[in-house]
């Protein structure tokens, strides 16, 4: 991987890109699935999205739900009921949003059909290649943190996979 600091200095990394403000809904969609995870701030973002959609002439079918945290089966059920042409919009903490994105992609949506907004960055999904666990890490890129699977101490690399919805951790103590 080379030295991480050097890599960052020469601008070579892959990180998820986030918008500063909640992005507008993609009105080419025929129906919308809106999800908020965690706190009331995320719920407020999603309510704002819904209000925006209701105001358009299209008035498309909108399904909205809130959950305290990302749950794979719950999202899979909602997507199984949805039809091709749906747009998924997710707001919440970084970990929940990135994991939900990865799940939606595995179930067939492409990035172009997903709108996402992070209301907080205090956690992130961290993949451990040594034991294959993805942890919810309360840490940032370049920090050290424990893997919840094998308890090795991992450095969080500035390397992100949208397939996994997670960052890479390496045991480089």
């Amino acid at each position: 991987m080379g030295n991480v600091r050097e890599a960052v200095d020469s601008g070579t990394w892959s990180l998820p890109q986030w918008a500063d403000q909640p992005p507008d809904p993609d009105l080419t969609g025929a129906s919308f699935l809106l999800i908020s995870y965690g706190d009331s701030e995320a719920e407020a973002v999603v309510q704002q999205w819904e209000a925006g959609l209701r105001r358009t002439d299209l008035d498309p079918p909108v399904l909205r739900f809130h959950a305290s945290a990302f749950d794979r089966d719950q999202l899979a059920d909602k997507l199984a009921e949805a039809r091709c042409g749906v747009r998924l919009m997710i707001a919440g903490g970084q970990y929940d949003v990135l994991q939900a994105m990865a799940t939606a992609r595995a179930l067939g949506l492409e990035t172009g059909e997903i709108t996402r907004y992070a209301t907080a960055y205090e956690d992130l999904p961290l993949f451990c290649p040594h034991c294959q666990t993805t942890s919810r890490a309360y840490a940032e890129v370049f920090d050290w943190t424990d893997c919840t699977g094998c308890h090795r101490v991992l450095t969080i690399k500035p390397h992100y996979s949208s397939q996994r919805g997670s960052f890479l951790g390496v045991d480089t103590r």
Partner: protein, 331 residues
């Protein structure tokens, strides 16, 4: 009689004659063309069995596969691509090495024999039950190359399946599913200078059945013969180079060279990316005047970010000096 070791003779020297500085480029050329070098030559076949080390390499490969099931990753929808790959390579090997590799074909029924490894296996195309393992593992147990399959979606290429045992400090279990841009994120300059894009355009334009290749070099992340320097087992090998540096044992540092092949598979349109890894210690390179001088000049000139990425940024001068000393003065 020749003075070069078997592995030096077959080593695909990664620099063109007269090249004295190195930068990344989309350095691709048609496959199956023999190149001669200062020591011998390489490149006549798609699969290089090497020499007497073939069985030892395959033994190493099979041990890693058995101990690390996570090195094989196949995303849903890629099953047929794995068969496409298996068939392409078995047919190629039977044609390239008729004295030791044989493929009998009758409709969808095949019979593969590899006399060097003692494999003797009948199977039916597309039926996993007819093989002792899945088709990707079967092929990876017969050839020394690491295997990656890419598919195209909306103009981008994604790494959707692979079996990789000899990665140079990266992780197949993390990288699977990623786009070319995400994968090459850690490589300095590559995406910023437009190379990732050009590499992708090159692969998208490959026609069914066409095979191309490129070479990639770095210094090795380990000291001995073992090739498994995957991130998965980082702790097992990460101390080897720091230790070598402490001992100033520069002759044991190895030039690590990857001969990479690109093939567009006919039935699925998948791009196969096969990586054959070669290592050669500096001690041997120093015996070969053309290689020694060229490598020293390239190592000396390489910009800092590339030297760091390739792994010798912290001891560049030492290895350049080492290469400059006449070999015989060392006894």
């Amino acid at each position: 009689m020749t003075k070069f070791s078997e592995r030096a003779q077959g080593f695909p020297w990664p620099f063109a004659e007269g090249e004295t500085d190195f930068r990344y480029s989309v350095n691709v050329e048609p496959a199956r063309v023999r190149r001669t070098t200062a020591t011998g030559g390489w490149g006549e076949h798609l699969v290089d069995l090497g020499g007497s080390d073939y069985t030892q390499l395959m033994q190493q490969r099979r041990e890693v596969i058995a101990a690390h099931p996570e090195r094989r990753r196949v995303l849903p929808g890629m099953e047929m691509a794995c068969w496409d790959l298996l068939l392409y390579y078995l047919r190629d090997m039977a044609a390239a090495y008729p004295e030791s590799m044989h493929l009998g074909e009758e409709g969808k029924n095949f019979h593969w024999r590899n006399d060097l490894l003692g494999t003797d296996q009948a199977f039916t195309f597309g039926q996993e039950e007819s093989l002792p393992t899945d088709p990707l593992t079967f092929l990876a147990s017969e050839i020394p190359d690491d295997l990656v399959l890419l598919t195209e979606r909306d103009g981008e290429l994604f790494f959707d399946a692979g079996l990789v045992t000899f990665a140079a400090s990266w992780s197949v279990s993390f990288n699977v599913g990623m786009s070319m841009t995400e994968i090459h994120g850690p490589v300095p300059r590559m995406t910023a200078e437009g190379m990732t894009r050009r590499a992708e355009i090159f692969m998208r334009q490959l026609q069914p059945g066409q095979a191309y290749r490129r070479l990639n070099w770095s210094t090795s992340k380990h000291r001995g013969e073992r090739l498994d320097t995957s991130l998965e087992t980082y702790r097992e090998w990460e101390s080897e180079i720091p230790q070598l540096v402490e001992e100033e044992d520069w002759g044991s540092l190895q030039l690590r060279n990857e001969l990479q092949h690109f093939v567009r598979l006919p039935m699925t349109g998948t791009v196969a990316f096969a990586i054959r890894t070669y290592i050669l210690p500096l001690a041997e390179i120093r015996e070969i005047p053309e290689w020694r001088d060229q490598l020293a000049s390239i190592l000396r000139e390489l910009p800092e970010d590339l030297a760091t990425y390739k792994g010798f940024g912290d001891f560049r001068e030492e290895i350049v000096d080492y290469l400059a000393q006449p070999a015989d003065s060392m006894g």
